[in-house]
Amino acid sequence: MANTLQTPPQSAPQAERLEAPPAAKRFAFLTDRKLSFLFISPAMALLLFLSIWPLLWLLGLSFTDYSATRDSGWGWIGLDNYIEVLTSPVVHARALTTLVFVVGAVALQTILGFTIAFLISRRVKGRGAITTLFLIPMMLSPIVVGLFWKFMLDVQFGVVNSFLDSLGLGRVEWLTQQRLALFSLVIVDTWQWTPFIMLIALAGLTAVPKYLYEAAEIDRASEWFKFRRITFPLVWPLLLIAIMFRAIEAFRLFDLVYILTGGGPGGTTETLSFNVYKVAFFGFDTGLASAYGILMVVVVTIAAQFYLRYLNRLQES
């Protein structure tokens, strides 16, 4: 009887075996502090070398009359470059072009992207396949997109004009007619980036909890009421993220202009980015282009800060 109260004799060696020998602490000299430095500094070094240092260089150049083609002789000219850029009527015109493009393209993309996402979110069957197909334009390189559309919008043998012709409507000079060329750019950009808004809106739409709709159903809420009071408010923050992201990217637009119109006709499709490129690589006025570029960087940085702060607030709530 007394025996049963005693611990079984086998348990003693088992407990001893559980005490594992301490593993060899290799790399123990790497304290957390050293490790974080060792892990972060190479990445930071690359960024400093190819993102920060160039920008500082650009800032320095913006106060000079340096030109990349004549290496001798350059002097400090203070804020002259900035004054020239800010007072130039050409720059004002390009800024207006860029603004029209950004507002037009992003608005169109948002409306279409959200509509498509909304339609897809109401489908049950084949949702994955439909979404995947819709996403194709977004994944293509701007060079590919630009070439697709340059060919399709060609005046003589472009398929768009061919269709218009067979419908009895006249041919349209999509890329060479003033006013229309910028509109064509908006269309092409919309074609490529509507899927982006759609993808993010869809992520928001599928995250709306079902029980909200069920509750609304019980209260006999109309479809419109459900959309206005449940769907839209819940998707809006995510949609705004997408819109801001697109707006920043549209502001920098260069590649489509480069391939489709080359800034023409008569500079009506010249965005700020393209104008900087012309000043820097055709005018060879590197100092002026630098001041121009710095001003663009300031605009982008402010916009990016808004975007990131908003994103941060959203993630914390």
């Binding site: 650009l58 339609l119 994944m139 590919v144 121009y292």
Partner: protein, 301 residues
């Protein structure tokens, strides 16, 4: 007894015919027909340019310029694709260079980015949030602006017209994305795993390498695929930093095709398709992470 007898016809309908469909149902069905129609229209519009380019790549040259355009009635040929891959093709070298540049830049971005992301995820650092925001905001810089000082810098370092230069630029360009994307994946791995491993006697580094790292492999693969796509598709740096036909990448080689007075659209279309197909395949592989990927790791579901 008579109360038990139901009038004929109501037998299947229950009491007071409750199971008759409410009118809402029918309205919904009609609405969904309109929705399907709208979706189909959108789909056709979105996919038509891609299909048209594919058709152009497969058409004979005389059919390409046919007026009115031939949508269905043409005899397919692979001539243009053969021209893309032939030995005297102006774009084939570009593809090879693109593979090299995209591959190495992705490798560098991943090797530098993953440890940095881990450190940002696990340690409390001074102004961590600001550092991360700062890193991502470098990615928003207008490429045309950044390329001016980089061009001058590379001229001094004689890195212009070299693949190495472009590899470095793309690595720096992909690094913010890699860090943000990987931080998201690492945040999902509980830090307790590493702490448990450290209780067992591992050092912090070993805990990262042996415990967390194996769990991160799928995330690293997805991130690398996105970095690969971004470098592959990048256009502005590639046309400004390399003009030499021997070292230039595919985007500038393809853009070079439309520079002349006559444009061989069949070759352009075939090159563009060849250029686009790998991206589409890769994008399909990482479709689960697409939302995070296209927002540079900033939005996670």
């Amino acid at each position: 007894m008579a109360t038990h007898i139901q009038p004929e016809g109501l037998a299947d309908k229950g009491i007071a015919g409750e199971t008759v469909d409410p009118p809402v149902r029918r309205e919904r069905k009609f609405g969904s027909g309109v929705e399907i129609l709208l979706l189909t229209i959108f789909m056709v519009v979105m996919l038509f340019p891609v299909i048209w380019m594919l058709e152009t790549a497969l058409k004979e040259t005389k059919d390409i310029y046919a007026v009115p355009a031939k949508v269905f009635s043409f005899s397919p040929t692979l001539d243009h694709f053969q021209n893309v891959f032939s030995s005297d093709s102006p774009v084939f070298k570009g593809f090879v260079n693109s593979v090299i540049v995209a591959g190495f830049s992705t490798l560098i971005a991943t090797v530098l980015g993953v440890p940095a992301a881990w450190a940002y995820s696990r340690f409390t650092l001074k102004a961590k949030k600001d550092q991360l925001f700062f890193i991502l905001s470098t990615r928003f810089m207008p490429p045309v602006v950044v390329v001016i000082p980089v061009f001058l810098m590379f001229r001094d370092l004689s890195l212009l017209d070299t693949r190495l230069g472009l590899v470095l630029v793309y690595a720096a360009f992909n690094l913010p994305f890699t860090i943000w994307m990987m931080k998201g994946f690492i945040d999902e791995v509980p830090a307790e795993y590493e702490e448990a491993a450290m209780l067992d006697g591992f050092s912090r580094f070993e805990a990262f390498w042996r415990v967390t790292m194996p769990l991160l492999i799928p995330g690293i693969a997805a991130t690398a695929v996105f970095a690969l796509i971004f470098s592959w598709n990048e256009f502005v740096f590639s046309i400004f930093l390399i003009t030499d036909p021997d070292t230039r990448t595919a985007p500038s080689a393809i853009a070079g095709l439309i520079g002349g007075t006559t444009i061989d659209w069949g070759l352009v279309a075939a090159s563009a398709m060849t250029f686009a197909v790998p991206v589409l395949v890769f994008a399909f592989l990482v479709r689960k992470h697409l939302v995070a990927g296209v927002t540079l790791g900033a939005v996670r579901r």
